[in-house]
């Protein structure tokens, strides 16, 4: 009987402890006052520097570094009466959501940064949100495009989460408008990058806004290299255009293989394509009749002095044409700078306030006003490639 008793006692004890432990750990839910700057303004970078999105992450890192170098060369950011230099803390989240959360925690808690640029991908971004919010430190993602990224569950805005890029609905519907009005395409085929929210989100928005017929809707995965099967099946569908939201690595190959297969209809993509490498991968003669929506045109240097300045500096520093991801990341840093200067404080909570109130900010990717949902409102253009070169830009109303 003794054994029996002891076992029961043990089991009960275990159950009780389990319940109580799970229920009540020492809760510490004081509202954070945010981080304050020291001698320098510490800005964190939570970025995909290795793993599958490393290519894009590194481009963003280049944009960030360029911006910070420029700002520091000019003495830093004016906080009230003094000028403080920026100190970057760059950390790799290896394109993993769990790591992105951990990096965010390290940046805000250990490095005590006052603002973060990144992550590049929506999912890594959303994984970081709880830790950013807990510490009351704002983050600006150059390229998290999911419409819900800046929103909480009920639809209220995430107080510390901002982005520099368009959200998918805007870009996707703009593309639909362009295809309908300018290209007058009645039948389109859609080719979606099905490995992230980016391609699928754009397709969803495009389908909602497009009034013509979608003759075919196919998907591909990041890293795919052979699209001949899909393209062959498209060939006889008699489409007027192909909408293909995705990144330049895959789109370059799609354009190349489509043209080789004799499909010469316009191919319309999104800002993930806006990269000089697109034409290199596709081959210049193939990259004709190719369009993409973008916030920033390499031609915009003519009208936008900020962009001209950026393009020149980027070319000088990295010996290559600036890709959109770098431009967006560059803007993210300057948006933080503007927020600090407007608020005359580099306290992280204040920066968040400043970012939310951002108005008519002159960025590389356009004149930006932050709306209530923390999405930047800026104009969108469509660039047309002919022989691999941007020959024409269109405005989309």
């Amino acid at each position: 009987m003794k054994k029996w008793e002891q076992t029961t006692i043990k089991l009960t004890a275990l159950a009780t402890i389990a319940m109580t432990l799970a229920g009540c750990s020492t809760a510490k839910s004081s509202t954070s006052q945010g981080n304050n700057p020291g001698k320098t303004i510490k800005i964190g970078v939570n970025m995909e520097l290795s793993g599958s999105a490393a290519g894009y992450g590194n481009q963003e890192k280049q944009g960030i570094q360029l911006a910070v170098n420029q700002i520091n060369k000019n003495g830093g950011i004016k906080v009230g009466s003094t000028k403080k230099k920026i100190q970057l803390v760059i950390r790799d989240n290896k394109t993993a959501n769990t790591t992105a959360a951990s990096v965010a925690a390290q940046l805000v808690n250990n490095d005590k940064v006052v603002a973060v640029v990144g992550p590049a991908a929506t999912n890594a971004g959303t994984a970081s949100i709880p830790n950013m919010t807990k510490a009351a430190v704002p983050s600006v993602s150059p390229s998290a495009t999911d419409p819900g990224y800046t929103l909480q569950k009920g639809g209220t805005v995430q107080p510390y989460i901002f982005r520099a890029c368009y959200q998918n609905n805007f870009q996707g519907s703009s593309a639909a408008k362009f295809v309908t009005k300018t290209l007058k395409a009645k039948r389109v085929a859609i080719l979606t990058d099905n490995s992230s929210d980016y391609g699928t989100g754009l397709t969803k928005a495009f389908k909602q806004a497009y009034t013509g017929t979608v003759a075919s809707s196919q998907t591909f995965q990041e890293g795919d290299k052979d699209f001949n099967a899909i393209l062959t099946s498209l060939k006889h569908k008699k489409v007027d255009a192909i909408y293909a939201p995705g990144y330049y690595s895959e789109l370059g190959l799609i354009i190349k293989q489509a043209r080789q297969a004799g499909i010469n209809v316009p191919i319309i993509g999104s800002d993930g394509m806006a990269d000089a490498k697109l034409a290199k991968i596709a081959g210049n003669h193939n990259a004709t009749n190719v369009y993409y929506t973008t916030p920033f045109s390499t031609k915009s240097g003519a009208t936008n002095p900020t962009a001209a300045n950026f393009l020149k500096a980027f070319q000088a520093k990295y010996q290559t044409t600036a890709p959109t991801f770098s431009a967006l990341a560059y803007d993210s840093v300057y948006m933080i700078k503007a927020a600090i200067e407007n608020e005359k404080s580099a306290n992280s909570v204040k920066i968040a306030d400043g970012l939310a109130k951002l108005k008519n900010f002159k960025g590389v990717t356009g004149t930006i006003t932050m709306n209530k949902k923390h999405n930047p409102e800026k104009s969108i253009v469509v660039e047309k490639l002919t022989q691999g070169i941007v020959k024409q830009t269109y405005n989309v109303q």
Partner: protein
């Protein structure tokens, strides 16, 4: 006929085009000690494999007498056949090497003790009772065969002869009606073989089971078994008592012929 235990009729086994066992009929009675001999490659182990279900038979019939009457073992999985009461050892010792001697024996008792999944993961009193009963039974068995001192050692650490003995104990732990021993004396010195002879007799006597053994050691076979089957080229060459077999001209020819070629 009343004490017929296992009856195998017209067993055939083909491997691709090769016939390993052709039309062999054997039977084993209650509490009998039967030997199975034959030159290398005669199909002795294959016959064991067929009887214990390790390899499925191509054709033929195997039936076992149970309390519920005569049951067919055709098409049964080895585990089912083992549960029906046929246990065995292997020519090239197959112990659970990394597990302790005690666990080797307890595993063989799996089907005789019932623990619920819930009981085992939440350690109910019933679980402890079953576990204790199982351990006691296993230790008793180990005690009978002088293995108590090594109970906590991994099986792989035991000397060869002890491993052979453990394999027999493990087979006994399944509470078999019929025990197949595949070359139990292989690799043993005469002293160990003598021990083994005593052991086999003791098992037959104490456990009241039927034992069938494959053996090359003629001194062992001839002293211990009551009846013999001789296989050659996958077919039954002769059957009878040791005395009869020793006089059988076909057997003498087969064995002498074997020797002359060596």
């Amino acid at each position: 006929m009343s004490n017929r235990l296992l009856d195998a009729q017209h067993l055939v086994k083909n491997f691709g085009g090769l016939t390993a066992v052709s039309d062999v009929s054997v039977h084993f009675d209650q509490n009998e000690l039967v030997g199975l001999i034959g030159p290398n490659g005669a199909g002795k182990t294959t016959l064991f494999n067929l009887l214990t279900g390790v390899t499925p038979i191509s054709s033929g019939a195997i039936t076992l007498a149970t309390d519920q009457g005569v049951q067919t073992l055709n098409g049964q999985r080895p585990a089912q056949i083992a549960q029906a009461g046929l246990s065995r050892t292997f020519q090239n010792i197959r112990l659970f090497k990394d597990l302790t001697v005690l666990d080797n024996v307890r595993i063989a008792m799996t089907n005789h003790y019932h623990e619920t999944f819930f009981g085992s993961i939440f350690r109910t009193p019933a679980f402890y009772r079953t576990e204790a009963a199982m351990t006691t039974a296993a230790q008793n068995l180990l005690g009978i065969f002088d293995l108590t001192t090594v109970a906590d050692q991994p099986a792989k650490n035991l000397p060869y002869g002890i491993q052979r003995r453990l394999e027999i104990v493990r087979a006994l732990a399944t509470k078999p009606k019929l025990l197949f021993l595949d070359e139990p004396a292989a690799g043993m010195n005469p002293e160990e073989t003598a021990d083994l002879t005593r052991l086999i007799r003791q098992i037959q006597h104490d456990f009241h089971i039927t034992i069938v053994l494959i053996e090359h050691d003629m001194s062992l076979v001839m002293t211990v078994v009551e009846r013999l089957y001789v296989l050659e080229h996958g077919a039954l060459l002769a059957a009878g008592t040791p005395a009869e077999i020793q006089k059988n001209p076909a057997v003498i020819k087969a064995y002498l012929g074997d020797e002359t070629t060596c």
